[in-house]
Every structure is written in structure tokens, then in C-alpha cells.
Symmetry: C5
Subunit: 364 residues, 5 copies
């Protein structure tokens, strides 16, 4: 009973994308997630091989003075709900309204759009709640321009702080490379995060399997079902990312330089590996469900054997006891001196006979 | 019992397309749906960048004076049963008889036909009955000419009233674009409608899942089956739409302009997302069926445990009570002073022993 | 029992093609079906735009005078067992011996062969026995020459009588078109016939579903199995027809004219729709099998609940009745004045207690 | 019990190819099958349009005088275990050592290798044991040179005796054609043999199905399992043959002449048909397993109904009989004159009531 | 109980690749396996057609003098944990840091990377523990340069000792060929090892099958589950190897010479065969699970039959015995002289009747 109350409800919104307001014309920017009151936070890191500086941006228009410089700029936008601000920001960089709509509409499918003056990439990150181990999904949209990357985050931008430190401190290759390498570095963090979620799922599956072997019960079936649901959910999120990375790698857009292709190829292999792992885990949970079902069936057999053995042993004897409890006037056995001991001897013999029969049937 | 009477019968006509009258030559226009008495309603909206006017058309021939103008014309035809009228209308625009047949035969598969003077698009819309949440399908056929769009609707043309308002009021981009954008705007509404149906299906699945966890029973299995049937039905309708949109996007027909391609690409992504969501939901309902079956098995185990425990506790005791109810003349225990208390002590000890045995087997 | 006797045996010959006599060299004409005594019947319709005449042909050689004319000729051959006659006929039209073998060997797979002087098409028709609703398959082979079509039928040539009337009466387009349109018209009739069979299958499935909801039993499982078998059988027959039609549509053989392509494209869409419908119906029967199995499980649970409730209520009471039926000399309760009423009070209380317990477990 | 002892063990060697001796360098000729003592038998048939002669060859070197002639030579080698002889033979015809290794290693996958001076084809034949109906697999390797075909057989070369007679007697086209037609004739016999095995499998499945309908039992489940195993085994053997034939048909090797392509295309269609039949039969056995499982479940329900009806009828009555067998001093009913008849009336009424209850539940 | 304690826990690490330290920049060399203390062992074999010498290398820099020579060099590195040493070694041969990272990160997916100055190949070997028959996976990375092959092994480099002997003793073709043939020879050993593992898996499956037929029980279901898990695991490892070999065969990199292609094609066929065998074995284990489940169901039916027969035989008789144990004053049968014998006659008749009933139902 208690195990049932713990059962998380299916969050349909996770599975089912919302319709984009059917009475608005296409291309209208709107935020479809839960409206929140937080202010959008904009961070700018401007860097080149020799130098890196971070700025906090209050109004999009402050970016105007940075845009013309040759340095690489990473503009990190946390919060996607302020549609008016996103629109203003988009106009500074000449972003198509269709793209701006998709940044705010966080139920988009991961994909790549190539435009003349930028590439638009939609990613999904998997965030692991450290408390209840539930996986939540957030959208990360990247706009990759000639010398800038705009990254839009719902809330989970902290994940990318290690990249920020690496740029500021000059560690790694990122400072020496173009804006496409910055986009790669962001994608690399996103995909490494998938591995972390996969590890956690693997641990959970190991736990379910152990429980299943020791004592199959109602908790197992719910855990397996929950896991299947989670795997469907995660797989659906990651599948299109593979395609997306593949498209970037094969793209001949001038902003994707030849020397970056090897890096995208590298994370492409990672996404393939993640998807194969996910498929293996789905196979495994299906096998576990089969194992569970057969355990339950087998247990039923054992229960029924116990019942049958008890019944078959005592029901005939009870009948015989009933016979000699009858009140017939002429019931000669009752008068015998050895009647009662003979009755017991009969009972013992019958029991032995039955036990041998069950032994032969391999029930005991 | 009552839950069964609520069970909707399978509407075979939804699944199985009708044969197009086997004794008529191919290319004969005919209406294969349920014949209805309503009159066909024809609305014309003529618009360009600066102006938009709506006309009610009584006879197709009234359209003759509009056809030569350069303005974009949306001719919305509600009702497809008046074969003679459809044929007259089709001849005004030089439409092939095969197409006219398909407009009236509402069991067509969504597809694209490219002709020199027009494109022919067959869509399916999903309509949600607000009362019983049943999904019905209607066919929407579009004929996209150089400067006109003919749209044929069974009954559900009200869905497109928002587009009508947008054109008349000049909101959105539609007034500035060519006829292909008008076709896109119609397709966009159709596909947004799919999202709405998907949301409703998601809600229903959430409800089934909740019920299943709390109390698995015969209502669940029927609900899951009903849901599977509905998903088969909806998936079959939507799958070919993806292909259709893809063909339009890649088409090099002169009526599909380069600047519209991005919009069709956009709704193509939506159809992909819808199909992936549908497949996830099918996976989920299959898992729910597994969960249901294992719940039923587990419940059987519990029932059998109760039966077995009761039987195993009392059947042996009943035998012993029967023994001392026997009427043997020489049955020494009956004469003992402590016979009766000893009998009870034996019963209690045997019961405790059995309970310990069941505890060890983890049955109680 | 009776329902079982109605169960049709699997006709292996339907599923498993026969080996073409392993000791004959390849290319030998032979008839592999059940030999029948009927005479082959040959009908010739010769027509052009202005005129159409029908002839009964006794000997193939009579055709010699018709072959050189420019008129379109439809030679309809009913019966394929007279190998010698088929060979004579084939030689008149310079048909390859491999093709003649395939006409008589009615277990061929639907396919297209392109030769310089003709196209060879093998179709399968589905015939519905109006009495027992069983589906039988017959082979229809077409040879499409420049100005003739040879059609070979096992028995079911009556299906094409509507086409014959249309040609003779001059209805429809067929009189105005080339021989490829005649081949299309034949294919169109064959594919319309698939829709009719599909409708019948749909009706049968609806019936099974209704029965299943009302009273799941052994008849259901056999009906579902029978339906699955029939769907496997029909699907296997229709799948290659899609390919065949597609190949004709894309063929660049000079006998397939550009203006006919649109008609073949049209019936190609029909075959796609038929196959999708078949796949949906297979999904549906699988779901029905699941529903049936879970119904049976659920019913078992209910049976076991009844048994358990009866046993749990009366077995303990029987024990107590047994106790007071014992003949111990010193059994004080027996002497009590209120012993017997107290016993009944105990029984009633115990029963109420048990019923409450079962109510709490939601069994009653 | 007896049925179990008949159960054939899985011959793992059939499924799992052996490793080619890991401590030998690649390209070493070796025989991996069961070593046998029989001598290799070499038959040579040399023929052209006008003449055909058969020779028995003792030593490979005897072939030297035949090699330069223009006549077509079919060298049939029965037995592949004499590695040294195979090597000598191979060197006469300048065959690569890799190929010679594959001739002796009879666990090869069917495939085509094209070399400058020959084509190498590995086929599998299915041999049906006439006694126990078990299917065994043997490898047939062909080397197709400009004017010779070398065929290597494990034991089953008798299958090809019909071809030998046809060549010697001059029946059929083979004498008029090139060596590629000889290879085709061999492949045709191999594939016709598949049809024969398929027919036998079909007959067996028909038998299983009949048994299943009449009396589902443990023999059925083993038969179905055995059939599934056999279908997995046969399908795995035949699948690559399709690919192989397709590659020959499309090959542009000078030894495959244009006029032979039509013959290979013909047997390609046969392999497609065989594979489709196999897949249908697999679907069918899966459905039969489902039917079997549901029959078993249904039977359990019936057994439980019988038990429940008996228990529910007699357990309450037994309690009442027990009540009036109690020895309470004050048990007024016992003194009634009509007590005993009333008891019986009560029993009859209760029984009727229970029977009506079960009738309402549709159990009887 | 005991059988359960033997059940190996799922080693999640086998299934789920680790994230490559999310706070390190991409391209950092690190070792992700279990850190071990063993020293890396480097063996060099330098050979050409006429000569072969083996050297033990202590420090990578010792290799400097060998690099410029024209002889083929096989540098075998056992141990991949000393990141610093791997880096030094990599720099000698101008290997990209991304590759060096992947050598140490042993959870890589098998794949091919082509660079200008080398090809990088990641393989997986399957090692069979001779004691518990568990399969473990190790990574083997090859770097194929113009005249050298670097092979990196976790621990299992002993597998390749036969190749070492063959080179040193001059057996086989390897001494006469280029470095690509050496890479082939290594791959050939890896793939032959797969066959050995497959054979062992086949033997285990045969064992499970035998057990399953004789006595289906809880050990079977766990064994089948374990086998399924192992097959998922092995299949996931081998699948990408097929792709890898295929890519090498089709590669036009100058280091892959035309004459080696035939060898890679040969082992490509082997990987295809391995994968097909694995898929067959997976089909087979699924069928075995079905067989197991149906055996369990059937056994339950038999248990229930026994219970039902016992209950149905004795419960009614017990009732009758109870009736004549009642103490009604007026119970005429008790006074009859033949009452008691008649009772027994009734019992025997009732029993015979019941037995006939069960016989008719085919229960006994």
C-alpha cells in the first residue's frame, strides 16, 4: 500500500508537446512553459587567444558595442520566459522570428536550422534531481554566429560553469579556437551529462534486479514499469540529438570549420554509444519483466502445491473419521477391539502413500 | 457489467476504406460517406497586401469573374456530397477528374499530387468530441493554384475561422504572401489540432495509469485496449501526413516558393514530433498492459495464499476433531480427564507451528 | 466441442508454394494446381475508339488473323491447366517459355518482367466465398503487348465482366486509350476486390470484438487465431502487389505511356492504403489477444475469490462444529445451557468478521 | 514422459559456427567437419552442344588434359575432407587459398566472391531425413570458371543426378549454354530442394495445429518450440542465399552472360518467395504458441470452476451436518420430529440456490 | 535458495559507459578503468621478409631509433593506465590527443578514425573466464601507421602470442606483407576469439534447454534471464565491430593496400556470420522463455487437477458421513440393518461416477 503511494504520477507534459496556441499566427514569440517571475540573466564572456573578460548584461542593447569586435563572444541567457526581451535580443543579432518562437517554446524537438548568418541548434539536457533521482528535461537553444554563441537556458545553466572557468582561466583549447568550437564545448557538456544520467539509471536497474531475485513482489513490477517509462522518456529525448550532431558534422556551412569536424565526429560517436546503451537497457528491463512474471507464476505453483498437499492428505482422512462418527445402529467396526488403532494405522499408511505419490511428482 | 455497456463498438469504417464502387469506371466522381442533405457552402475570401473581402458564393459559376484577378483567393467549400456541384467547380479550375473523385471519396490516404496547373493535397483532421472524448477523422482536400487555394471540408471547416479572421483583419504574414503560404497556414492549423488531440490522449492515459495503480480491474483492461485501438487509429492517420509535408517541402513545383520552404520545414518538424510522441504513448500503453497483467497475477497469488493459509490451518484440525467424534467403543483418549484441554493445546500448538511455517515462506 | 469441429484446417498449399517438379529442366511448361477437366475458354474483344467486337476463340491459331491489326485486343483465357494449349498460344505471341511456365504454375509471387516485345505481370486475386466467408486466392497473369493484353485466369474471370461490358458499350475512357490502360483497368478491378475482402475482414473483427467484450471464451481465442492466420495469409499475398504496381509506374518501357502513369500512381496509393489497413488490423488482433488473455486471468481471479470466500467462511466453522461433536467424557461446554446458542452467536460473529475482512480487501 | 524422451537435443554445431583453429595462420586449408574415412570422389562431365561424356577421375592431375579444351566441364567433387587433394585440385585451376580453406570449412556463410579467373559461390543445401523428418544442412561450393564448373559436395551430391542425366541425354537447354548456365542449373536444384523442405515443414505445422485444437497438452508446446527452433535454423540458412543470387544477377563479371541473367532473376524470385513463406510460418507458430497458452489458461479456469462449484455446494452443507452432529445437551432441533426432513429440505434449497447463482455467473 | 545466491549481480559498468570526467576539457588523456599498479609492458617486433627480431622496450624514447627504418614494426603495449607514458608514446608517433584519450578510456565504442599519418581502430575482445564461464570485455586499440602497428591491450595481450610466434618463425604470409596485413592478422585473432565465446554460449544454451525439458523450475528462469543478459551484452559489443571492418574494407586510405582488401572482406563475412548466429540465439532464448512459461502454466493445471479430483471425490462423501453422524432423534436410516453397507455402496458408486466424469474431461 505504501509503495503505491510513492508512485509518481506520469507527467503528461513531459511526453506530450503542447500545441502552440492555435489562435496565434505562426511565428509569434510566446513562452509555453510554466510562467515564472524570475528575471532573465544575461552573461557575456568575450575572449580571444590572449584575453577573456566576463560582463553582466542588464539590457540587450548593451551588447551593441560588443557585436562588431572580432573576439569570440559567449552570451549566456538564463531564463526564456520574457518574450519581449528575447525578441529584442534576437533582433540585435538578426534572428528569424520562427527561431525566437522556438527558444521560448520549450517543447521543441532537438534539431539544426542553417541560416545565412547563423546556425540554430536546439538541445535537450537531462537534469538529475539528487533527492528523488527523477530525471527532468530542459531545453538549451544555441545560436552560433560567425564570432558569437548565444545560449538560452531554462534554469540549468550552472552545468556550464566549468566551461566558463576554462575560458576565463585559459585552460584547454577553447580560447584558441573559433565560435564553432565553443558550440562544440557546450554540446560536449550536454552529452557528458547524458552519461551521468545513464549511470544513475544503470544503478537503479541493478537495484531492481537484486530485489527481483531476492523477493519478487508488487514493488518490483512498479519499479520495472517506472523504469520502462523513464527509458521511453529519455530515449525519445536523446534520439534526435544524434541526428542533430550528425547534421552539424556533415554541414558545409562556412561557420563550421574543417578542424572542428573531428570534435563533432567524436561526440557523435558518444551519442551513438548512449543510444545503444539505452536500447540495451530497454531490452534488459523487458527481460526483467518476463523474469518477474515467470517468478510470480512459479510462486503460484508453489502455493498451490502446499494447498493441494494439505488437502489431499487430510480430506480423505477426515472422511474416514466422519464415517466412524456415524450413528448407524449396525456399524460392526465400532465394536472391534482394534478398531481405533487400526484406524490410526490406516491413516499413517494412507499419508505415507500420498507423500510417496507427491515425491514421485517432484512436489516435495 | 455497467463498464461493459459503456464500451464503444469498433467503428470498422474508420479502419477499413471502402471500395470505390467496383462497377463504375475509374475517374467517376462519387460521394462514399454517409449521404447528407445539407447544401454545400462556398465562401470566397479575396485578398492582397492592402485589402481583403469575403463573399458568399451560391453557384460555382459566380467564381468566374474572380479567377482572372491577381489577388489571392481562398475558396472554402464545406460539404463534399454534391458530386455534380463539385464537378462543376472542378471544371472551372481545370481540375482532373481523378482528383474530384478523391475529394468526394473521403477515405483517401493523405498525399500530394503535382499537376502542371495546381497541387492537390489531401489532409486528415482529427476532431475531438468534447462530450465523450472520442476522436473522429475528417478529410480536408486542398487545391493550390497559382493565386488561389480551394479547400474542401466535410463538416469541420469552423476550425479554420481563426485564419479567416487573421486574413480579414490583416494580422500575421498571410496577407503579404503568396497562395502557398495560405496552404501552409491551413496545414499549420491542421497540425496544431493534432497536438490538441495528443494532449487529450495524454490526459486519458494519465487517468488510466492512476486507476491501474490504485485498483487494477476489468475497467483497466478495457480502457487500455480502447487506448491502444485509438492510438493505432490516430497513428495510421498521421503517419502519411509527415510524408506529405516532406514532399511539399522538397517539391520544386513553381507554386512552392523558396521563402515558404522554411515554413513547411517547420511544420514537418512538428509532424515528426507528433509521431515520436505517438510511438512513445504506444510503448507506454504496452507497458501498462504488462503491468496490468502482472498485477492480476500477483493478486491471484494473494488470493491463493489466503485460501491456502485457511485450509492448511483448519483442515488438519477438523480431521482431529473428527477423530474424537468417532464412536469406537474402545477409544481411550475420550475417557481421559485432560483429553479435551489437551486437544485444544494441540490445536493451538499446531496453529502456531503452521503460522511460523507461513511466515518463513513470507506469505504473512 | 461443436465450435472446434467448425475450425477450418490450415490449407498448407495456400502458404507453402510447391516445388516446380525437381526432375524437369527449368523452363518446362506444366500445371501444378489441381488438375481439372474443364476446357480452356478463350474470349477475344477487339476494339478501338469507334468500335468493339467480341469473339469466342476455339483454337489459338484463330487469333492469327487478329494479331496484325492496329486495334486493341483483350484475349481473356479462363483455365490454365492445358499446358499444350498455353504453349501454342504463347508461341503465337512470341512469349518466353519461362513466362508460360509461370502462368501454369499458379503459386508464383506477384511480379513484373519486362521483355522487348511485352511486359509480363503476375497478380493475385482474393475471392471471398459468400457462404463461409473463407478467402481463396487465384492467380491472374497478364501479358501486355503493344496492342494486346492476354489475361490468364484460373476460374475467377467473371470478376472482369464489368470491364467487358464497359468496353463493349463504350463507357469510360478505356476505348480511347492504349493497351496499357486496359492492363490498368484490369489491375484496378483486382485492387478494388482487395477492398471488398478487407471490408469483410473488418466486419468479422468487429464481431469478434463484440463477442469478446460480452463473454470471453474458447470460441474467441480460436476466432482471433483464425483471423491472425487469415491476415498473415492476405498480407503475404498483397505485399508484393504494391511493389509490382510501383515498378510499372516507374517503368520506362515503351508500352507504358506517360499518360497512363497517373492511373498506375493512383492504384499504387490504393495498395499502400490497403497494406496500412492490414497492418492496423494485425495490431488490433494482437491487442484483442492480449485483452482476451487478461480477461481470462481476471475471471480466474474472480472464481478463486468465490472459492476462497466460501472456504474461509465455512472451514473454521466446520471445525468448531466438529469440536462439539467430539465424544470426550469431560467436555464441559456441552453441559452448558447456553452452549448451543453461544455456538451460533460465535458463528455469526466470525462470519461478519470474515466478511468485513474480505470487504476491506475489496473482494466483495 | 515418453514425449519428452523423443525430444531432440539442440545440435549446437548447427547454430554456432566453429572458430577456424585459432593457432593456424589465415589461409590454411583445413577440414572442420567430422572427419570421415571415405575417399573423395571426382566425376567429370565434358560436353558441348553436340556431345557429352562422363569420366571418373582418380587423381586431380588427370584433369590437366581436359582443362585447355573449349568444351564445358562439370567437375563434381563429393567429399571435402581430404585437404591435400583439395589443394592439389585448387592449384590446377589457380584457385586462391582463402577459397580452398572455405571449401573445407563447411560452416561458411553463403556468399559470392568474384575473382579475375573465376567466381566462387558457397551454397547451403537442406537435406530432409526421410525417417525422422529432421533437416540437415550441407555446404555446396561452386567454382565457376570460363568453361568449367567445379562443384564440391559434403555427401549430398546425389541430388544433382537429374542434372547429370539431363546433360548426358541432351534434354533441356543446358547443353546449348555456357558454364554460367550450368551454375544456374545447380543453383536451381538447390532452391527447388528448399521448396521440398518447406512443404514438409508446412505439413508438420498443419499436424501441430490439428493436435492443438483437439487436445492442447505438453506435447504441443514442445512441438511448437521445436518448430520455432527449426524455422530459426532454416531461415538463417536461406536468408544469405537470396543476397547471393541477387549479387550474381547484378554482377558484371564477364563469365555471367547477359542471356543467363533472366534465369538467375527467376530463381531470385523463388528465394524471395521462400523467405516470405518462412516469415509467414514464423508468424503462424508464434500465433499458435499464443493460442496454446490461452487454451491452457482457459482450461485452468474450467478446472477451478469445477472445484469451486463442488466446494461451494458441499462445504456449507457439511457445516450444517456438523452442527447437528454436535453433542450439546440442550440442542432443541435434534428433538423435533421433522428435524431430519427439514435438514434435507434445507440442503436441497441451498443447493438449488447455489446452482442458480453459478448459472447466473455463466459457470454452468 | 542456493540457486539464488549463485546469481551474479549485473555489472552495470559493463553496460553503461562512464562519463569522461565532466570537469576536464575534451582531449585530456585519462584512464577511466580500475586503477592498477602494474607497469606498462612494451614489446617491439621489427621484421621484414628476411628477418624478425623482438625487443623489450623500457622507455618510449628507445623506440626513436626504430621509427625511421623501413621494416614493419609491431609495438605491443600491455596496460593502458599510465596516462603519462601513453602520452609520451603517442607524441613519438604524432598521434592526436583525442585518440590517446580514447586508448585510456576503455569504454569506447569500436570504430575507425582515419588520419593523414595513421588509422586508429578500437576493437573489443571477449575473454572467457575458464572457471565461471563469465564473459569479460577488454578494449584493444590499434594505431596503423605506414610501417608500424601500435596495439594497446588492457591485460589480454597473451591472446596474440600465436601471431608473435608466427612472425618470429616466419610462418604464414605476415612477414611478406605490409603493416595493414599485420592489423588484419590482429583483427582476425580478435574475431576468431568471438567464435570461441559463441561456442561456449551455444553449449550453455544447450544445457539450459536440456534442463528445461526435464524439469522446469526456478533455476531455468534465472539461467534464461542470465543468458538473455549476456547475449544483449555480447551483441552490443560485436555489432559495431562489423561496421568497423566494413569501413576498413571500403577505405581508400593509402595505408590499406588493394591486396589486403580481400582479407578484410573475409573477416567481414565472419562478423556477419557471428551477428546472425547471435540473433538466432536470442530468438532461441526467447522461445525457451515462452516454453518455460507454458510449462509452468501446464504444471499448474496438473496440480489443480489433482486438488480438484481429491476435493470433488471426498467433499460430497464427507458431507454424507456428516449427515449420518447427526444426532437427530428421528433419523430412520440409522435404524436400518443395511444402512451402513448401503452407505458404503453409495460411496463406491459416487466415486466411480466421479472418476468417469473426470475421465470424460480427460483429466485422468
Amino acid at each position: 500500500m505504501k509503495s503505491k503511494s510513492k508512485f509518481k504520477k506520469l507527467d503528461v507534459k513531459k511526453f506530450v508537446p503542447r500545441a502552440s496556441g492555435k489562435d496565434t499566427p505562426p511565428g509569434t514569440v510566446q513562452y509555453v512553459g510554466v510562467p515564472r517571475e524570475e528575471k532573465i540573466k544575461i552573461d557575456l564572456i568575450e575572449y580571444d587567444d590572449s584575453d577573456a573578460t566576463e560582463y553582466n548584461i542588464e539590457r540587450p542593447e548593451q551588447l551593441n558595442k560588443f557585436i562588431p569586435t572580432d573576439k569570440i563572444k559567449w552570451i549566456r541567457v538564463t531564463g526564456v520566459y520574457d518574450v519581449e526581451l528575447i525578441t529584442r535580443l534576437g533582433e540585435l543579432f538578426h534572428i528569424n522570428h520562427l527561431e525566437l518562437e522556438d527558444i521560448s517554446n520549450t517543447t521543441q524537438r532537438p534539431r539544426l536550422e542553417e541560416r545565412n548568418n547563423y546556425l540554430f541548434l536546439i538541445f535537450k539536457i537531462l537534469l538529475l534531481n539528487p533527492v528523488d533521482k527523477e530525471v527532468s528535461i530542459e531545453q538549451v537553444s544555441l545560436i552560433l554566429g560567425e564570432n558569437y554563441v548565444l545560449s538560452f537556458h531554462e534554469t540549468g545553466s550552472a552545468l556550464f560553469d566549468t566551461l566558463r572557468s576554462r575560458i576565463l582561466s585559459g585552460k584547454g583549447k577553447v580560447r584558441k579556437m573559433k565560435s564553432d568550437y565553443l558550440a562544440f564545448a557546450l554540446a560536449d557538456i550536454i552529452i557528458d551529462q547524458y552519461f551521468i544520467v545513464l549511470e544513475d539509471i544503470g544503478d537503479t536497474i541493478e537495484g531492481i534486479e537484486s530485489d527481483l531475485i531476492i523477493a519478487p513482489g508488487s514493488a518490483n513490477q512498479e519499479a520495472i514499469y517506472r523504469m520502462k517509462r523513464r527509458l521511453v522518456y529519455v530515449a525519445r529525448t536523446i534520439w534526435p540529438v544524434r541526428e542533430l550532431i550528425n547534421e552539424i558534422e556533415r554541414s558545409d556551412h562556412p561557420f563550421i570549420h574543417e578542424e572542428s569536424r573531428i570534435y563533432f565526429r567524436n561526440i557523435y560517436d558518444h551519442t551513438v554509444q548512449i543510444i545503444e546503451t539505452l536500447e540495451s537497457l530497454r531490452d534488459l528491463t523487458s527481460s526483467m519483466m518476463d523474469l518477474y512474471l515467470s517468478s510470480v507464476s512459479l510462486k503460484l505453483n508453489e502455493i498451490m502445491k502446499v494447498l493441494t498437499i494439505f488437502s489431499a492428505l487430510f480430506i480423505p482422512l477426515t472422511f474416514f473419521a466422519g464415517v466412524y462418527g456415524m450413528n448407524f445402529k449396525y456399524l460392526p467396526e465400532l465394536e472391534w477391539k482394534w478398531g481405533y488403532p487400526l484406524f490410526w494405522i490406516f491413516c499413517v499408511v494412507a499419508t505415507i502413500f500420498m507423500l510417496l505419490y507427491f515425491r514421485r511428482k517432484r512436489w516435495i
